[in-house]
Subunit: 247 residues, 2 copies
Amino acid sequence: MCVFYAGKHDRPPIVFAIKRIEVTEKLITPTVVSDSYEVSITVDCAVFGFHEGVLKVLLVKRSIAPYKDHWLLPGGIMEKDQTLEEAVNQVLYHLTGMSDIHQEQVKIYSKVDRHPAKRVVTVCFYALVKPENHPVIAKNHISEVAWFPINEPLPSLAFDHATLFSDAHETLKQNLKRRLLFGELLADAFTLKELQDLYESILNEQLDRRNFRKKMMQLDLLEATGEKKIGVRGGPELYRIKKQSRS
Amino acid sequence: MCVFYAGKHDRPPIVFAIKRIEVTEKLITPTVVSDSYEVSITVDCAVFGFHEGVLKVLLVKRSIAPYKDHWLLPGGIMEKDQTLEEAVNQVLYHLTGMSDIHQEQVKIYSKVDRHPAKRVVTVCFYALVKPENHPVIAKNHISEVAWFPINEPLPSLAFDHATLFSDAHETLKQNLKRRLLFGELLADAFTLKELQDLYESILNEQLDRRNFRKKMMQLDLLEATGEKKIGVRGGPELYRIKKQSRS
DNA sequence: GCAAAAGTGTTCGGGGTACACCCATGG
DNA sequence: CCATGGGTGTACCCCGAACACTTTTGC
């Protein structure tokens, strides 16, 4: 039997009946004692970029065992005095030379045998980079860096990174449908066509041009720059994201 | 300058131009070395229960400093050879005596100064328990356990648990709207009214009875048991969740 | 028998989808 | 001048919201 506490919290809760079950020493309370178990935490990041109308993901190739010469998502270890977000920023900075990149948590992976050598818990993020930022190659343990179109088969990825990538892409799709605008993948000024191509790449489906324009306009997050994109037929208007709408 | 890789992956990626930026030793590649930084990971869990038509959350009161006599979400430390989900299961088992409780990841919190004594990274979950399961009190570092209605002000919570709770509730709401059925908070057989009360508690808004019934029926996840709930006027039909629909 | 709750159908509006023509620009 | 792409409006359909009366049962 137990008594439920139904009143306001300024009255003390009603006494709670006790049903006896063995309780181990270390559980229930998040009291942290000095000898508590510790693990390394890594961050892995699916970096999406948009180039030539195609959504791509940035992969790196390992030059050491295990999984030598396998592709995988770039990642790094969370350091002392650093949050996970700061760790991701550091990884992104060293890959792209850019800071202030939009990033989102995807999920955390804690299977005991994820890494063959040592227990590692990994937090997956995704990040969106603008195409004008040029990625650089990293020097240690990485032999290559390349962009891969996501709507074509990717190479097989090391560890469980295929799952991580798939989850990251799914999270990106869901966030896009919940009406987050993703100007972060485009230059500051862009045409509606470019934005639509981006949406189609992320969602991997075709959208109607007029309906897309209508929807974007009634979201009221874009404003015309007054300039037109030159060098392209039809003379499309360039838009930018309204300042107060930036995420 | 960089070359984008546009082809199929059975051809090797095009050579990647290098832009030189200083790269620290430990980043980019998730290679784990033996001296890499390690940290304790805790799981905290917002345990939701549904009782007398009201959605409640299970809180525990700390009996030790810091935050002595403050309420907080139950939690525990992830142990060696244990996943985060197993750690949550262990916490839930010791709180409620039940296993196989539905749980979902909410978010991970890694601010460096979250815990005043020691760096701790925490993963927040939520769990849904059936009302017929009786929670028990835990013995060490906990003086009380009680259910609190979530649509009334909660006591102030220790650490950053107010944020954790708020995020967990928001995630639960979102998951409910994405059409997950939450029979886990109800007995095996329940009336539509009870299910609607549950929805209203979670979403904290009133729903139209007829529209709710219509929506549930066309989701085609429920089946009538053929029995009626006795002791209540109107003689409502009892429903159960179809077997193949269980999450 | 009467109060309380269960059960049932229709209407309306908004948003999403499908669809065709004219206009502007580059080559 | 012509080919390519940009820009616009309308009809239909589905889903969700609003809404009232009859039937069943407990007391």
